[in-house]
């Protein structure tokens, strides 16, 4: 279980970017972080595994404040998938093997290779395993990045807009993959996402950030036209279609 308590972050020159952020995520649960551009969503995500060091607060995983751990220990507890992933001339197999980095001392062991093989098989990446990652399509690359994050065997998975540059088919595939992983591996997932309908379809709880603080946090009931309108400053209607809520912009 992930518990965030009184998290604060601000740049020296500016004011606070994040103020008194408090929420928790259960194992097997996916939380969507929502809000306008510049609301601090990506900054908050990076604070959760100390890519950016918060000035105050605690990030507790299974009763341990991971902000007090060293980088390698943090990497064994959390895995992060960046918004933009840089293609590189390493193979898909090696890119996923890099996820074992926190565990590798001198060289990868048989166990590391076994874990990578299993992840490749479970995500159906066999056909790509010897391709260089800079030759992959956006959707394929994103799956490989998620596979690498899984190779870290994290308790918490942090995803920064994983579908921002993908077409509809790949968005659906990647988000379905994340949903399955969340449930199967019973890990806590925090995902920054802009598409409210995709969030409604694949996430369990929703956290709105506004004015550097949490505006509201909860299950599908917080996805109302009032809350969305207040956070995004646009008129929307929230309707039901085949038992699924959908957000329709009215402007």
């Amino acid at each position: 279980m992930l518990k965030i308590d009184a998290l604060e972050f601000g740049y020296r020159a500016g004011g606070k970017i994040l103020d008194d952020i408090k929420f928790d995520v259960s194992n097997g649960e996916c939380v969507a972080i929502l809000g306008n551009n510049g609301a601090g969503k990506s900054t908050m995500l990076k604070c959760l595994n100390k890519i950016i060091s918060p000035q105050r607060g605690r990030v507790v995983i299974d009763d341990v404040d991971i902000l007090k751990l060293n980088r390698l220990e943090i990497a064994k507890n959390t895995a992060y998938v960046a918004q933009k992933n840089e293609g590189n001339q390493i193979t898909v197999f090696d890119a996923i093997l890099l996820g074992r980095k926190p565990y590798i001392k001198l060289a990868p062991k048989k166990e590391d290779f076994d874990i990578v093989e299993n992840i490749i098989a479970s995500l159906n990446l066999e056909t790509l395993s010897l391709r260089y990652i800079d030759e992959l399509s956006g959707g394929e690359l994103q799956k490989v990045m998620i596979a690498r994050a899984l190779a870290q065997e994290p308790k918490v998975l942090l995803l920064d807009e994983p579908t921002s540059s993908l077409d509809l088919k790949n968005q659906l595939e990647v988000l379905k993959l994340i949903q399955n992983i969340t449930k199967e591996k019973q890990i806590a997932v925090v995902i920054v996402i802009h598409d409210l309908n995709m969030a409604l379809r694949y996430c369990d709880r929703f956290l709105f950030l506004k004015d550097n603080a949490i505006y509201c946090y909860g299950d599908v009931d917080v996805m109302t036209s009032e809350n969305i309108g207040a956070v995004y400053q646009v008129s929307v209607a929230v309707e039901k279609y085949k038992n699924q809520r959908i957000v329709i912009p009215l402007a």
Partner: protein, 359 residues
């Protein structure tokens, strides 16, 4: 390691073996080139005589030429190429800049300035006669020491400035460009103010010359280059992680600032040591990693040793070419490296040899 079959018909073990085979081939090719280089010269010596001479046997002239002249030169070519290429490979990786090398960062220019100080103010250079090779560095240890001190000064300034700015690659590169301009200007001023003999000695030093190598200097260079290479290999997974971006690397448990600063320190130390012994040899550190990226990809497990060996071979071939083409005149190695390397580099860029891992 167990077999890792893939549906594309490949096999990860085979893939790794292919990369390892390239490294073994480079070792063999470097060794063969060294054998050819030691046999060839203004006085050709057969391989059998060279082997005897290496053990102090055979004709006295052959022993003298092989052991005292060619062997130190060839060993220094191997050590220098190996060190400059591995340093260049790491600089390009940690700074995320394909143009990063000792010269981009001002290390070479710092060394030139240090050597110029030694020659102009401390009497490091002199003239022996009227021939083309008449100019000599009459106090090589002093000149090397000053070159090393100045290039390390450049390194420390760059590292100090970048540490204040969280070791960002941009700060390092820009500080290096500024310092290289500063030291190049200072060297030009010294040349302007120096006598003809001093200016000739400065120019001669900057040409780069593997013939200056003594066994002691080879030993020091080998120790620094070898020690740094071991450190680089210990950090190969960190460099692979850095290639994925700073935030991703941090998420994988890498202390990005520390890896960048310590990596740059070892790379700069290696380049500074070699340049202070042999003069300016710019292109090897830049070209060798780029050549090998085409064959082994960007995985530092393979790229580091492959680049280092390619650097050794490029310098060895260039030196042999420099000795043979107008024999007995020996052309400046720095010019030859660039002259031979640039067309090959351009060919590889446009041809894209070995682009796919499957190749």
């Amino acid at each position: 390691m167990n077999k890792k079959k893939t549906a594309c018909g490949g096999n990860y073990d085979q893939y790794v073996r292919r990369k390892a085979l390239i490294i073994v081939a480079l070792v063999v090719m470097t060794f063969m080139t060294a054998i050819f280089a030691i046999c060839a010269g203004s006085a050709d010596i057969p391989v059998s005589e060279v082997l005897k001479a290496l053990f102090g046997l055979g004709a006295a002239k052959n022993v003298m030429v092989t052991v005292n002249i060619r062997l130190p030169r060839i060993l220094m070519a191997i050590v220098s190429g190996f060190g400059l290429a591995s340093a260049g490979c790491v600089m390009q990786g940690v700074l995320k800049n394909p143009l990063a090398s000792a010269s981009t960062l001002g290390i070479s220019q710092g060394a030139s300035f240090g050597a110029a100080i030694a020659i102009v103010f401390l009497g490091g250079g002199t003239i022996m006669g009227n021939n083309a090779d008449a100019v000599t560095i009459n106090n090589p240890y002093l000149t090397s020491f000053c070159a090393f001190a100045a290039s390390m000064l450049v390194t420390l300034i760059i590292l100090g400035l970048s540490k204040a700015r969280k070791a960002s690659p941009e700060t390092m590169i820009l500080a290096g460009v500024a310092l290289s301009s500063l030291f190049a200007g200072a060297t030009a001023l010294l040349q302007y103010l120096s006598t003809d003999v001093e200016m000739a000695a400065i120019v001669f030093w900057t040409f780069g010359d593997l013939g200056r190598a003594s066994m002691k200097s080879i030993g020091v260079a080998a120790l620094v280059a070898g020690g740094s290479f071991i450190y680089f290999m210990f950090n190969r997974w960190n460099y692979n992680a850095l290639e994925c971006g700073e935030h991703t690397a941090t998420g994988l448990g890498v202390n990005v600032s520390r890896v960048r600063l310590v990596g740059m320190t070892f790379a700069s130390l290696t380049a500074a040591t070699i340049v202070s012994f042999v003069g300016i040899i710019n292109f090897v550190g830049l070209i060798a990693p780029h050549i090998m990226r085409r064959f082994v990809g960007n995985d530092y497990r393979f790229l580091l040793p492959a680049s280092a060996l390619m650097g050794a071979m490029v310098l060895l071939i260039s030196d042999t070419f420099a000795r043979l083409i107008l024999s007995p005149v020996i052309l400046p190695i720095g010019a030859i490296t660039s002259f031979l390397g640039a067309p090959l580099f351009l060919y590889l860029i446009f041809k894209g040899v070995g682009r796919n891992a499957e190749n």
